[in-house]
């Protein structure tokens, strides 16, 4: 099985461990990106649906404005008919009726002006809504495209991870390379180096007794591990 040196096996195992870690990180990031893209696409879709609902509300508002306009017009005709009755009564007898109808007609006229203002504002809102929906269209397309691309990237990432897992198996069978073991050995090496650096730093600061105590604890630990094995 072993046609490579221990050092090469360890190096391969460490590289493989790094590759597996990077691949796992990539898959996690890919999953998060996928969720984020899906959320954004859904939000843009939600905004578009909101735009559609606003269009329906706008239609209702226009219909009610028209209904109000018709009602005001009927009211105006009623006041004209009342004024006509006043005119038939004569300038003196019909004076009060004429004055009242004039007042009502004036109020109806003001209401019609306010209604026209409302209709103008409703039309402005409708134009604003159309502009927003037009702007949202390309955004929705882009969000869908991103979501689809991210999904493809996630699939590629999974494929890579599977390929890496197969490669790991192959390397373990062929050369006894174990990325987990390699990773643990690499970590132990790093931590041992750190420990030596700490001891040196303690001695450099004159903390010889503390350094000796630490060394003694390491030795005791090492001895107990040897005895156990």
């Amino acid at each position: 099985m072993s046609r490579i040196s221990d050092a090469e096996r360890q190096r391969l195992a460490e590289r493989l461990a790094e590759a597996v870690r990077a691949s796992t990180d990539a898959e996690q990031a890919s999953g998060q990106a996928q969720a984020q893209a899906a959320r954004q696409a859904a939000e843009v879709e939600g905004l578009l649906e909101g735009g559609e609902r606003l269009a329906l509300r706008g239609r209702d508002l226009r219909a009610s404005v028209q209904e109000l306009r018709d009602t005001l017009e009927r009211g105006r005709l009623s006041t004209l008919n009342a004024a006509l009755e006043g005119a038939r009564l004569g300038e003196v007898a019909g004076k009060a009726l004429m004055a009242m109808t004039e007042e009502v007609r004036s109020a109806l006229g003001r209401s019609a002006d306010v209604l026209d203002d409302h209709a103008t504002r409703v039309a402005e809102l409708e134009r604003e809504r159309e502009r927003l929906v037009l702007a949202l269209g390309p955004l929705a397309d882009a969000a869908r495209a991103v979501a689809s691309e991210v999904m493809r990237a996630a699939e590629r990432s999974r494929s890579q991870q599977e390929a890496l897992a197969e490669l790991s198996l192959e390397l373990r069978d062929q050369f006894g390379v174990d990325p987990e073991l390699g990773g643990l050995v690499a970590r132990a090496s790093r931590e041992a180096a750190d420990l030596l650096d700490t001891l040196k730093a303690l001695e450099a600061r004159g903390a010889h007794s503390e350094a000796r105590e630490l060394l003694a604890r390491i030795s005791a630990l090492s001895k107990s591990r040897t005895d156990e094995s």
Partner: protein, 130 residues
């Protein structure tokens, strides 16, 4: 205490209508009422237009664009509807020649009887042509 006697004035009671952009006067005794423009029905082969207004069938004389109101007038005991004569004001107006003054402008009287006759002549001419 005596009740003040109404002082008769020379102002004319009636309606100012706008007909194809021009102001015209209709006497109050001629105009019956104003109603929203009804659904019109052409009487085939006669050139006449009729409409059902408050349960009554009226002859309609189109004098302008449809507008916002039908002015119902009584001419010779018959009711006719003027379509396209939109009412602007109702009240008492200072006489001015054959019409009145409204907002400083002259509003000549609209001869509805003549309109009815003209309408009838048009119908008769069509019948003769047929």
């Amino acid at each position: 205490m005596s009740t003040p006697t109404p002082v008769p004035t020379s102002n004319r009671a009636g309606v100012i209508v706008r007909l194809r952009g021009e102001l015209r006067f209709l006497s109050a005794h001629l105009v019956r009422r104003f109603v929203p423009p009804p659904t019109l029905s052409d009487v085939a082969g006669t050139g006449l237009t009729m409409a059902l207004v408050d349960g009554q069938v009226l002859a309609i004389i189109p004098v302008g664009p449809r507008g916002a109101a039908l002015t119902v007038c009584e001419v010779g005991g018959e009711l006719v509807g003027l379509l396209g004569a939109d009412p602007e004001a109702v009240g008492f107006f200072e006489p001015d020649g054959a019409g009145v003054t409204f907002d400083g402008q002259n509003a000549p009287e609209l001869d509805v009887a003549e309109l009815v006759r003209a309408s009838a002549r048009g119908t008769f001419e069509q019948e003769a042509e047929a």
